[in-house]
Amino acid sequence: MSVIRVELPQHLRTLSGAGREVTLEVQGVVSIKSALDALEARYPTLKGTIRDYGTLQRRAFLRFFVCEEDWSHQPAEKPLPEAVASGKEPLLVIGAIAGGC
């Protein structure tokens, strides 16, 4: 089991009641998928807000950053770096900086 850290954008903190950073226990390989599975298990209200319910595809205006690298287009089950799996570095869920209306 690994203990990892995930940082959420403001609106998802408000929605879920979580803080800026969430500490999660992940069984098995630590990947984007297993991290989000653990996040949604802890905070069910986040289901559907980061990835699509059916396809599990990342929502278009969100990105995943790890150790200063963009992992948004990496396979969801690809193991994350040891720094994330060990809790040294967080997985960042970032909303697009878009003004909108």
Binding site: P9, H11, L12, T14, L15, T45, K47, G48, T49, I50, D52, Y53, G54, R59, F61, L62, G95, A96, A98, G100, C101
Partner: protein
């Protein structure tokens, strides 16, 4: 003492406006769900403290909220809207096939008899139902799988199911409307549906009299006459007296019959209100003068209502779900604008005053009459 609660959905949050029966002093609560689009909020007719809200965002998708205390506190409920089976395709703007994709909930219609049952009209057009207070949603797929579905096409705002009306005398009968497919009716609780667009004429589509393809903007009904419907179409104000089987135009002397909102007086089923907009190319009031028009004859003959409304330099829009009425005596009329004003009339439209004037763009207005 009686009072009213006005539920206002905006581009950046929801607001709850409350007043006593005099409707001259208001308390404003909000923004609830700050920063999110609140397409619609509506309360249960049988339990006014039960309110449902549709919260959405281009970033984070759809969230559903429920309140059990009249909008003071909220809890997220189920937000999984899965089309039944293979969703298939509808027409895209250019006429090519386009996959059906869920985007957001436009309209919530709580049951007339059960506070835990609620219907949701969504984009891309479909109707969903929850019987457990919004925790789980099931598509009433007979509508989307109606044979004309592949011909449906989005309006400029998306292919949205924006109007849901329940017949208070027949629990099996529901009316819905879709931009730009038209109006539909079920007489068996949502299992099967029929288009009810006969008499609509839309010159901007290949067959102006087509069975489907009409850009219906909104429909209103008075609860005492469930077979009589009033429609604001893209252009044209229409009326049906046979549950939508046939429609006739009642635009009469309106200066422009383009618009979005339409509603019926709470106590006078032949008194109806519209908010005319200049044209489909210019979504603001004619001549910069914000006017609600009232017909006391069920259409054809209309009078402008201007007292208290800006009569120059006003270039806001009034969206389809942004007009509502209370059932006090005299009937109160309310509407919101894309400029962030919510106007109220406590005398059936004779005079108006803003409740608030600097909210984000208003998407929807609903009113609860409280005893």
């Amino acid at each position: 003492m009686s009072g009213v609660r006005v539920l206002v959905g905006t581009r950046k949050g929801g607001f709850v406006l409350t007043s006593d029966g005099k409707r001259d002093k208001w308390e404003v609560s909000g923004p609830h769900f700050a920063g999110w689009e609140i397409y619609h909020m509506k309360g249960s007719p049988v339990d006014p403290d039960r309110i449902y809200a549709s919260q959405s965002s281009g970033w984070f998708g759809q969230v559903m909220q429920r309140s059990n205390d009249g909008g003071k506190t909220w809890e997220p409920v189920g937000n999984k809207f899965a089309y039944e089976g293979d969703a298939g395709t509808h027409q895209w703007y250019d006429g090519t096939p386009h996959p059906w994709e869920f985007k957001r909930v436009w309209h919530l219609e709580p049951s007339l008899t059960d506070p835990d049952t609620v219907l949701a009209g969504v984009e891309d057009a479909a109707l969903f139902k929850s019987t457990d207070g919004g925790q789980n949603w099931t598509e009433l797929a007979g509508l989307r799988k109606h044979g004309t579905g592949p011909k449906w096409q989005p309006g400029a705002g998306g292919m949205c199911l924006h109007t849901v009306i329940q017949d208070p005398t027949d629990a099996q009968r529901i009316y819905i409307a879709i931009s730009a497919a038209g109006a539909f009716r079920t007489d068996d609780g949502g299992q099967t549906w029929k288009p009810i667009n006969k008499g609509l004429r839309s010159q901007y589509i290949p067959d102006p009299n087509a069975e489907v393809g009409h850009c219906v903007h909104h429909i209103a009904m008075h609860k005492s006459r469930p077979g009589t419907l009033f429609m604001q179409k893209h252009w044209d104000v229409m009326r049906s007296d046979d549950a939508g089987d046939n429609w006739t135009e009642v635009s009469g002397n309106l200066p422009t019959d383009f618009g979005f909102a339409i509603d019926v007086h709470a106590h006078e089923p032949e008194t109806i209100y519209v908010a005319p907009i200049k044209s489909d190319q210019e979504h603001f009031p004619l001549d910069g003068a914000l006017r609600v028009y009232r017909s006391k004859s069920g259409g054809h003959e209309w009078e402008p209502l201007t007292k208290g409304l800006p009569q120059k330099d006003c270039y806001v829009n009034v969206l389809r779900d942004a007009m509502a009425v209370d059932s006090l005596d005299k009937c109160g009329i309310y509407f919101g604008t894309t400029g962030g004003q919510v106007y109220a009339s406590a005398d059936a439209g004779d005079s108006w005053a803003p409740i608030v004037r600097d909210l984000p763009a208003v998407l929807s207005v609903e009113v609860q009459t409280l005893s």
